[in-house]
Amino acid sequence: MKIGFYATGSATSGHMDLMDQIRYADEAGYDSVWLRERHFHPDHEGRNFFSSPFIAASYIASVTRRIRIGIGARLLPLDHPIHVAEGAATVDVISGGRLDLGIARIGENELYQNAFGIKSAETRERFEQSFDVIIKAWTEERFSYDGHYDLSDISVVPKPVQKPHPPVYLVGISPETLRFGAERGLPMLLAGAQTVSMLIKTRDEYGKLLNGNNRGRMIHPVNRFVYVAETDEKAVEDTKDTIMGFIHRKNTVIRDFLFLPEEEITYDRLLDEVFIFGSPDTCMRKIQDLHNNLNVGNLVLTFNYFTIEHRKCVKSMEMFTKYLFTELKAIGEESGEKAVHQIKMD
């Protein structure tokens, strides 16, 4: 099983704290680091990383040696596809071919579209056409495009190092987005905020769409929120306020991914069905359950979130790395082989 690190911010982390954590992930043997695109200071909580994921990615490319650098995801309608193609290719060149580009249609809320002067009704067209323009910009020496973007005989530079082009991952949930991703044969980054049963449903539905387009099997990275502490009780004590805060927070795209009626978003249910949470033993059991259900080939973990203090996030990540990492890495990606559950605390 590959293990990735979703580098989001938390209450007290600055950019350089995140960079330290990413260096740690590289040295500890994590396979990937993922950066999301978020704009504007939220007035509710925490830090908002990253408003410029490519700028951060270029820095990361230069301070790490082997970790893959994923963008999960660039919000395509907000930027010109040529800028996205150029920025992504620059990161790919600087990193020696370590870029994974996630793409999404919409961000956290309508303010994004309004601030960048994009009509919400146009985001579908922009998203789909932007993807096609980016692939052409990366792979064709010269090209033209006639659509929302009107491009005539241009040659975009630099070209990415990875051939034919860097892997592109779909991040999304709507039926139209899934249909588009399946048509283009994109692996999907399965969202952290989904319940396990929704993950399975999404994976199966998307798998059917992919089959319908004669696309082969592919590994869909699975994102999960994690918190590891010495005991289950300590994990609750460390994070209860934060998670309750999330439950009371309205109007965020994360809630859309939950697909739960308002009254069913409860603390116990989130811990049980969304988070990987508790002592190393408990976390291992939950990951095994997840793996048994989903055959997870690539687990991308969010250690930092919401209003948790940065030092707690780092400690949770260190515990994860110390007690679960080696055993999880040894699980076969394709075989569905069951992990041997044997964790001993110091």
Binding site: M16, S51, I55, S62, T90, I154
Partner: protein, 339 residues
């Protein structure tokens, strides 16, 4: 005097060679490494994502300042530009010198990014205002002709306070006046003779409004520089690459030169070299810089020592010779962070 290094790439240097050269510039003691922005087939002349490259440089260096000359404001949304630059300022530990320009050198970029050239002057002014407000105001909204922004709080804020130094590429007198009257630094002068620079400097400093923001505005002069053992060798090694550069790779310069000299047939290497280039032995280049610093009072030289039409190794040799034989003749006031 400050010496910054403008990097436009070389004929055969990869991004990694260029990054190595930028890291080397810190070791050599330059004030700043400065990068340009250029899109499409001209991209190997400059960089299509200069702030991404700058971020890689930030990770690899500790002291040298990192500049752009320049981000083309009309080609991107000002919020993206403000976010990118602020992120870079944080990652570099406050080393960003933010150079901006109104328009790209080629019409092609303006067509592709749907930003017609004739709109750029107005877009530029709105954009620069939005960027400064995004950097300095907790919340703001904006209602302009090109940009309408509801109340937002742009994140992150830059590390440098009140904000990173802004310089404006001023080719026209109008832009030079705008820079001076708004208290911004200006970058100018690649094809201006020392005599013209004297007038330019007088005009800029006479019109410079002091904005009480702690940022010292200055006039930054761009010079094409190539150092070899003798004047004769420098001429031999630069004639073909420089003329190829002017004729085929720098359409804006070529057009300006044709206007200035009255026709392409008057653009001879010897004449251009004599009028505004510093191509020669260490003694010749030293005396050229002395003329700029002494009589004209230029305090910040942006040294263009890479040419996309010249081999990477020759550009490096020239830069090393410049640092070893020319720079020691000047009192340096580079702003690189002292460790």
């Amino acid at each position: 005097m400050k010496f910054s290094l403008f990097i436009m790439g070389t004929r055969d240097g990869s991004y990694h060679d260029i990054l190595d050269q930028m890291v080397y510039a810190e070791e050599l003691g330059f004030n700043a490494v400065v990068m340009g922005e250029r899109h499409f087939r001209h991209g190997d002349l400059l960089f299509s994502s200069p702030l991404s490259l700058a971020s890689a440089l930030a990770a690899r260096t500790e002291r040298i300042r990192i500049g752009t000359a320049a981000r083309v404001l009309s080609l991107d949304h000002p919020i993206h530009i403000a976010e990118d630059a602020a992120t870079l300022d944080i990652l570099s530990g406050g080393r960003l010198d933010f150079g901006v320009t109104r328009a790209s050198l080629d019409e092609e970029s303006h067509t592709a990014f749907h930003a017609p050239i004739d709109e750029t002057r107005h877009r530029f002014r709105e954009s620069i205002e939005i960027i400064v407000r995004a950097w300095t105001e907790e919340k703001f909204s904006y209602n302009g002709r090109f940009y309408r922004i509801p109340e937002v709080s742009v994140y992150p804020k830059p590390l440098q306070k009140p904000y990173p130094p802004i310089s404006i590429v001023a080719v026209s007198d109008e832009t030079l006046a705008f820079s001076a009257e708004n208290g911004y630094s200006a970058i100018t002068g690649a094809i201006r003779s020392p005599l013209e620079l004297e007038q330019t400097a007088k005009f800029y400093y006479d019109n410079l409004i002091e904005i009480n923001n702690g940022l010292d505005a200055e006039l930054i002069i761009n010079r094409f520089i190539y150092v070899a053992d003798t004047d004769e060798v420098a001429g031999r090694e630069m004639e073909q690459p420089f003329m190829e550069f002017i004729k085929y790779r720098a359409p804006d310069l070529k057009a300006a030169l044709i206007r200035k000299y009255g026709g392409e047939e008057y653009l001879s290497f010897d004449r251009l070299r004599n009028d505004f280039c510093l191509f020669g032995s260490p003694e010749t280049v030293t005396s050229g810089i002395s003329e700029l610093s002494g009589k004209i009072g230029i305090d910040h030289l942006l040294c263009t020592m890479n040419f996309v039409t010249q081999s990477h190794s020759l550009c490096i040799n020239s830069t090393e010779l410049f640092v070893r034989e020319v720079l020691p003749n000047f009192q340096m006031s580079n702003k690189a962070i002292q460790l």
